[in-house]
């Protein structure tokens, strides 16, 4: 199945903690045909002029009929999304992008903030396959990771918070630098650009494989706007985060 475009009904949309929300939309076709690390575009309405553009969201969970997302209200677009109620419809298209490539190596999943979303999906998929793996998520405070409780039935994780209010005190990247990850590992990561940069550096130091999911400005998700360019590391030119990514081998991109 290719890309599905539809007006999907919102099943749930509620606040978890200080501006973090869970959104669940009914979209069986996308749920069935997508994989961890892929994303969809969500537009509040086709006739909405301001804000104009759709937003890209990675799935945190795919049930048989629905897609679950985590988002944080940061601007007008997410603000308007947070006002939508169950039964309202949003325009969605997907699945888009490549998703993570699951390898046989010892899997370490490193998420920062809402960047944990695709790693929750990946963790659930790995558990389904009976793969041992570790999920580590970071935030500034415990409130930033409250959304993880919504997924506690299927994923277990270790927390790092900058203020020490949950789990270890420090940055999530400390998990790698503290000797938990070696050359035998495959790191799967998603989060803020600064964090991904550090994860990529540490992976190179340790000799570990490393896949990072990159968020960039993006207008279409389909490969036409060329707004989501990611510089190639080993040659000139750019990848497109939407169709070549959003997941890249950290050795192949400059971030």
């Amino acid at each position: 199945m290719g890309v599905v475009l539809e007006a999907s009904e919102i099943v749930k949309n509620y606040e978890i903690s200080n501006g973090f929300y869970i959104l669940e939309v009914f979209s069986p076709d996308i749920a069935r045909s997508s994989a961890p690390g892929q994303f969809i575009m969500i537009n509040l309405s086709h006739l909405h002029n301001d804000p104009l553009l759709p937003r890209a969201y990675s799935m945190a969970r795919r049930t048989t009929e629905t897609l679950v997302f985590i988002y944080r209200v940061v601007g007008r677009g997410t603000g308007l999304l947070s006002e939508k109620r169950p039964g309202d419809r949003v325009h969605v298209w997907g699945p888009l992008g490549n998703g993570f490539t699951i390898t046989d190596r010892k899997a370490v999943l490193i998420g920062g903030g809402t960047g944990a979303a695709p790693l929750i999906d990946l963790s659930e998929e790995m558990s389904r396959r009976g793969m041992d793996h570790t999920l580590v998520c970071g935030g500034r405070t415990a409130g930033d990771l409250k959304f993880m409780d919504e997924f506690s039935d299927v994923v277990k994780y270790s927390a790092y918070t900058e203020d020490g209010s949950l789990g270890e005190k420090g940055f999530v990247t400390d998990y790698i630098s503290n000797g938990n990850v070696g050359a035998e590992a495959a790191i799967y990561s998603c989060g803020p650009m600064g964090m991904l940069r550090r994860v990529s550096e540490l992976a190179a130091e340790k000799g570990a494989e490393c896949q990072i999911s990159i968020e960039t400005p993006m207008a279409c998700g389909l490969g036409t706007c060329l707004g989501c360019a990611v510089p190639k590391r080993n040659s000139k030119g750019y990848y497109k985060a939407c169709t070549d990514g959003p997941v890249f081998d950290s050795k192949e991109v400059v971030i």
Partner: protein, 310 residues
């Protein structure tokens, strides 16, 4: 069913709705979500003689009712387009108009020659209005003499439909419209983006790596309608309206202003099915008002009799 087919000179199109250059890739990207039978034509991303990497990030930013972009004409070059992409694109069954870009007159001519020789393309759209490149683009389109020179040179090497895409940054739209017509253009498309700027007030950095970018989307629409109206009054060749069209009503407004057809750009991002819905909506508009064919309302704006500025 109302007749929404259009003729642009000798070029017959099944629908007045074309996908605008730079918003539709090379035509393959929307196959899963759009009924291509509703398209009049696909105007490709700009094609240059040599491959272009494009501009650094950030390249796009959302603005009120619009967006700025500065992609820098990233494209694989004409050789790769003709060899790798065109064979797939022509299988779509939709007329293809290739947006042609050059840094010099000679480059425009060489790209147009290669497009002409494929025999698989309905027309070329001369990109003399891109605001995001150092050489070429808008430098030709803002100046009537240079526009005449490049249009004439391309006209001499192609008998394909020759559409010239105007810039809103030309000082006098009538002058560039006339220059393109006199040089042998078969149609005009208006308008390309206009340069805009957006600044992050915390970092004081522009939100576009090249400082300025082209503004597109609904924010541009009234400006575009005005320029289509002005251009269509000053030439006898057809004008194709572009600029913030996201609904059938938007398209109809351009047509009443003087456009014989339209291109849909930024709306392809916000609604991948925009072209299809606009084409259907145009037909409904005509049927509901018992207008037999679209050409009946082209340029039918009824300006106030005493509209002249005092």
């Amino acid at each position: 069913m109302a007749d929404i087919s259009v003729k642009l000179g000798a070029l017959e199109l099944p629908s007045p709705v074309m996908a605008a250059s730079g918003t539709f890739g090379f035509g393959l990207e929307y196959r899963d979500v759009l009924d291509y039978n509703k398209l009049g034509a696909i105007v490709t991303k700009g094609v240059s003689l040599k491959p272009r990497e494009g501009n650094p990030m950030p390249r796009i930013v959302e603005t009120p009712c619009g967006m700025l972009n500065s992609i820098g004409l990233q494209n694989p070059g004409v050789e790769s387009f003709v060899g790798d992409l065109l064979p797939q694109v022509k299988g779509l069954g939709v007329p293809i108009i290739v947006n042609v870009f050059g840094e010099t007159v000679e480059e425009y001519v060489r790209v147009a020659e290669m497009i002409q020789s494929t025999g698989a393309v309905a027309g070329v759209e001369l990109n003399v209005s891109c605001p995001n490149v150092k050489c070429g683009g808008i430098h030709f389109g803002a100046n009537p003499e240079m526009l005449h020179e490049v249009t004439k040179a391309v006209r001499e090497v192609t008998d394909l439909h020759l559409m010239v895409k105007l810039s809103p940054e030309a000082a006098v739209i009538e002058a560039v419209s006339n220059a393109a017509e006199q040089a042998g253009a078969d149609s005009l498309s208006a308008i390309n983006t206009i340069r805009g700027m957006s600044i992050n007030i915390e970092t004081r950095k522009p939100r576009i790596a090249t400082t300025t970018g082209g503004l597109s989307g609904p924010a541009l629409k009234p400006l575009a309608v005005r320029m289509v109206w002005e251009a269509s009054r000053s030439v006898s060749i057809p004008v194709v309206g572009i600029g913030g069209i996201s609904t059938a009503m938007d398209a109809i407004e351009f047509i009443i202003a003087g456009a014989s057809a339209v291109q849909v750009g930024t709306a392809n991002y916000t609604n991948p099915r925009a072209c299809e819905e606009i084409a259907d909506g145009i037909a409904v508009y005509l049927e509901e008002r018992d207008i037999p064919k679209l050409s009946d309302i082209v340029g039918s704006v009824e300006v106030y009799e005493d509209y002249t500025l005092k």
